[in-house]
């Protein structure tokens, strides 16, 4: 009984290990073909990071983690929320504006701004959910389009509320007051975003919600077979809408560590593209909160370790984008291969167990 569970866990790790190996091989081939010092590149990437780098990895990982959880919530019920990118940017803008206005003192201001961000993220994702439920528009298409619209809306609104720094063409929202900034946690001689705690809570909450609650059961059932969900009494339309809202609300958190722990304002230089990294990390982490954490750290690690490649070896750090891309592609293939294998293994075990029971030694072979 526990043996089948154990072998399932073993197989779960087989896929990412296979994918990492494939990525290693492909990246090496690219480097060799380009005539670069591939051993040197791996030497740098696989070296133990400095303390300063560890802090950077944890910080970037926190942001990736939130983004990936937002994506994973959708994935669990077969919804491809490609729009986390637009959702977190518009949400970060809204939160930055609220925080900059500072209607409430100190940390109350933080709470209000975070809630505003989650609300705006949820609403932006909700548009796609509503279109899907009422008009049957694929959320893949609508969320991609909403990303573009979010960019335009934020650019427009930013100009309305922005304060421009004298002598610079960078514009941004009013800075978050000193009293509402979230202090970092001292670690490895640096400071890790205080929001890493929030990310951990979100991860645990996600796990409990999906795996332990009735709502999570309905969500997973709807994701794995819509027709079975319908006949079991699940209102699939309601689930689609709720899931999109939830995914958008978590997407609304993605920019918060940056806003309250680093940039203290939303401006034209606010980091973009985190939503897409989230998709890759969610795929790699197989939508499991712990898997996503490992994936987020891995991606942040590759980013950070590749930074000095240009200076040290005259190799563009973009080479790790190849590595990351191959990891995602091969992990999707590897999961499918492992899934098929484990289904077959399971069927064989069932057949063997029942054969032994039903026909003791009828077939002489």
């Amino acid at each position: 009984m526990t043996q089948s569970r154990l072998s399932r866990i073993g197989l779960a790790f087989a896929a990412p290990v296979l994918a990492l190996f494939a990525a290693f091989v492909v990246t090496s081939l690219v480097l060799i073909l380009a005539g670069d010092d591939w051993i040197g590149v791996w030497g740098q990437i696989l070296s133990w990071p400095s303390n300063r780098s560890i802090v950077n990895i944890l910080n970037a990982g926190t942001v990736y983690y939130l983004s990936a959880v937002a994506v994973a919530i959708g994935f669990r019920m077969n919804l491809f929320n490609i729009g986390v990118d637009g959702q977190y940017r518009i949400a970060s803008f809204a939160a930055a504006w609220v925080a900059g206005e500072a209607w409430l003192p100190g940390y109350f201001n933080v709470v209000l701004a975070v809630l505003a961000g989650m609300f705006v993220g949820a609403m932006w994702a909700g548009i796609a959910g509503l279109l899907r439920v009422t008009r049957g528009v694929s959320e893949v298409i609508s969320t991609i389009m909403l990303n573009a619209i979010a960019t335009a809306v934020v650019a427009y609104l930013l100009r309305k509320v922005a304060v421009s720094e004298p002598g610079s063409n960078i514009i941004s929202t009013k800075p978050v007051p000193e009293s509402s900034r979230v202090p970092g946690i001292p670690m490895f001689g640096g400071e890790v975003y205080g929001f890493i705690v929030v990310a951990a809570i979100v991860g645990i909450g996600y796990w409990v919600l999906i795996n332990r609650t009735r709502f999570g059961f309905d969500l997973r059932a709807a994701g794995s077979s819509e027709s079975a969900a319908v006949s079991s009494g699940i209102n699939v339309k309601k689930m689609i809408l709720t899931t999109m809202l939830l995914s958008g609300a978590v997407a609304g958190l993605v920019g918060m560590p940056l806003l309250f722990g680093q940039d203290y304002a939303y401006g034209s230089t606010f980091q973009a593209g985190l939503g897409f990294t989230g998709i890759a990390v969610a795929l790699l982490g197989r939508n499991h909160p712990a898997g996503i954490a490992l994936g987020a750290i891995l991606f942040a690690y590759l980013d950070e370790q590749s930074n000095p490649l240009q200076i040290l070896l005259d190799v563009s750090p973009d080479i790790v984008k190849v590595t990351q891309g191959v990891i995602v592609l091969s992990v999707v293939i590897a999961y499918e291969v492992v899934r098929r294998y484990s289904v077959r293994l399971e069927q064989r075990q069932v057949a063997a167990a029942l054969d032994a029971e039903v026909r003791p030694k009828e077939v002489a072979k």
């Binding site: 009984m1 332990r212 999570g216 059932a221 794995s224 077979s225 006949s231 079991s232 009494g233």
Partner: protein, 518 residues
């Protein structure tokens, strides 16, 4: 019990053997493998292959049609050993197959359907048309080449499939469960066609598990059990019952219920239930009314596609556009959601257990929760009660004899019969007052079928009201207290199962007789 050489039974004739299968073996995970399959099919005969669902008939035919390669053994066609690695190989050797599910494009004509993919043989114009007319006349298929397929009935569509195979030059024709989609009258017509084919010197391989039909048309019958050929006998030399016992290898189950347990307490009442069709036109359900009392089984007969699925979905609340009244224990539930209906005591065995009844990638205990995720013992407040659900799954596995290594096994790994027993156990465990059972024993083995019948009968004795939808007329006649026939969305007749024959039901199912009887 399997034998490795062809047993010497009397055979119908000693004509030349066109297909010779020797020691065919094929292993599959989770499915009964073929092993030691030996069959000789003779020219100018109808050779039936019978066996239970899952005995390995379809796999064997896929091997002969080149869809799958055997792991061991040899195939000889016309005395020459061949290796078939694709259906086009098989066709090149004169082997053609008519599948159970037709592969025809409705919006094309017969001619276009026939030449599709075989354009090189006689072109797509007059020559092809001539050839089709010639074949149609030669084998008495009665097919006009210029008719649109959508205008044709099931029987005619099947004849087009046969014609397609003949057009491609097949001399050995495999028919996979050809009668499953036909009513008794159409079956007779099909058999007349088969006799024509055989008279023209073709060999027909006929797969079925309907034994009366097999005995009426087959010259030779090969019985397959657990993937191996048990024996080959001449068509006239056994009775259906003997054949069935060869198939099963033991005594047969019987669906008949005992004394009537019908009470006068109405449990489910449906009044004027209608469902408009999405594209306009004939409604899918047309003013359906019936009532089921506690301890009563109402059977619904009908050719598939006459509104059975829609009726079930409307009662389960999955069709919001349905109009009319549905009352459960005197409460109107017409505007309740599916979940509310299930919670109020409707158990549901859906028609398609893979698509509607189970989460195939989830373990058994999670499938125990499915459909009951708001009720004890599966939940505690907003949380899933894992311990409760697991314990109850263990109980279902034990009481309903679900053969599985553990409750953590994925549902998709179990055989159809065991999956269905799990579903029945799950639906019974919430002590429903009504059970909607859609094809409860379709595609399950005889053992599981008997067990499921047993559970339904026991629940009926305990006062359960059952709506039974089935394509198996024996099952309907055996289990039901009343049988109603559904034709084009309307209930067209009520029959007493004690004095109805499959023939009469068949007439009502096709609309051949509109007369009401009770």
């Amino acid at each position: 019990m399997s034998t490795t050489s062809t047993p010497e039974y009397p055979t119908a004739n000693q004509a030349e053997v066109v297909v010779r299968l020797r020691d065919i073996g094929k292993t599959f995970p989770g499915v009964i493998a073929n092993h030691d399959v030996n069959i000789d099919v003779r020219k100018g005969t109808v050779h039936a292959i019978v066996g239970e669902n899952g005995a390995g008939k379809s796999t064997l035919m896929k091997i002969l049609y080149g869809v799958q390669k055997p792991d061991s053994g040899t195939i000889e066609i016309d005395g020459e050993q061949v290796s078939l690695s694709s259906p086009s190989d098989a066709i090149a050797h004169g082997v053609g197959m008519v599948f159970q599910h037709f592969m025809l494009a409705d919006n094309l004509t017969v001619l276009e359907n026939v030449v599709l993919g075989a354009e090189k043989m006689h072109g797509i114009g007059d020559k092809a048309k001539e050839r089709i007319e010639e074949l149609s006349a030669q084998y008495g298929l009665n097919i006009a080449p210029d008719v649109l397929v959508e205008e044709l009935g099931v029987g005619a569509r099947q004849r087009i499939e046969i014609l397609k195979v003949l057009y491609r030059g097949a001399r050995i024709i495999i028919l996979d469960e050809p009668t499953a989609v036909l009513v008794p009258q159409e079956v007779d017509e099909l058999f007349d066609n088969l006799r024509e084919l055989k008279a023209e010197g073709l060999a027909v391989i006929f797969i079925s598990h309907k034994l009366d039909e097999v005995l009426s048309v087959a010259d030779e019958v090969t019985v397959i059990r657990r993937g191996a050929t048990v024996t080959t006998i001449a068509g006239g030399s056994v009775s259906a019952r003997e054949l069935a016992e060869l198939m099963v290898g033991s005594e047969l189950p019987n669906p008949s219920t005992e004394v009537s347990t019908v009470t006068d307490r109405e449990v489910l009442e449906v009044i004027d239930l209608s469902l408009p069709s999405t594209g306009g036109g004939r409604p899918l359900l047309d003013h359906i009314s019936f009532r089921i009392r506690a301890g009563e089984i109402l059977g619904i007969a009908g050719v598939e596609g006459n509104g059975q699925a829609e009726l079930v979905e409307a009662i389960m609340g999955m069709r919001p556009e349905a109009t009319g009244q549905v009352e459960l224990n005197d409460k109107s539930i017409g505007d309740w959601s599916t979940r509310e209906r299930r919670e109020s005591g409707i158990g549901f065995i859906p028609e398609d257990r893979h698509r509607q009844g189970l989460l195939l990638d989830a373990p058994l205990w999670e499938n125990r929760v499915l459909g009951h995720q708001t009720r004890k013992p599966n939940v505690r407040g907003p949380f899933i009660d894992r311990a409760g659900a697991r314990a109850d799954t263990e109980r279902i596995v034990r009481e309903y004899d679900v053969r599985t290594p553990s409750i953590d096994t994925l549902a998709g790994a179990l055989s159809g019969g065991n999956q269905q027993k799990l579903i029945v156990g799950r639906e019974m465990s919430s002590e429903p007052s009504v059970l909607i059972a859609s094809h409860p024993t379709r595609g399950v083995d005889v053992g599981a079928q008997a067990a499921i019948w047993g559970h339904i009968k026991r629940a009926r004795r305990d006062g359960l009201a059952v709506l039974l939808i089935s394509a198996d007329l024996d099952e309907l006649i055996g289990l039901s207290d009343t049988i109603a026939v559904l034709l084009r969305g309307r209930l067209v007749g009520h029959f007493d199962p004690n004095d109805v024959t499959p023939q009469r039901l068949g007439s009502a199912m096709t609309g051949a007789s509109e007369e009401e009887s009770s």
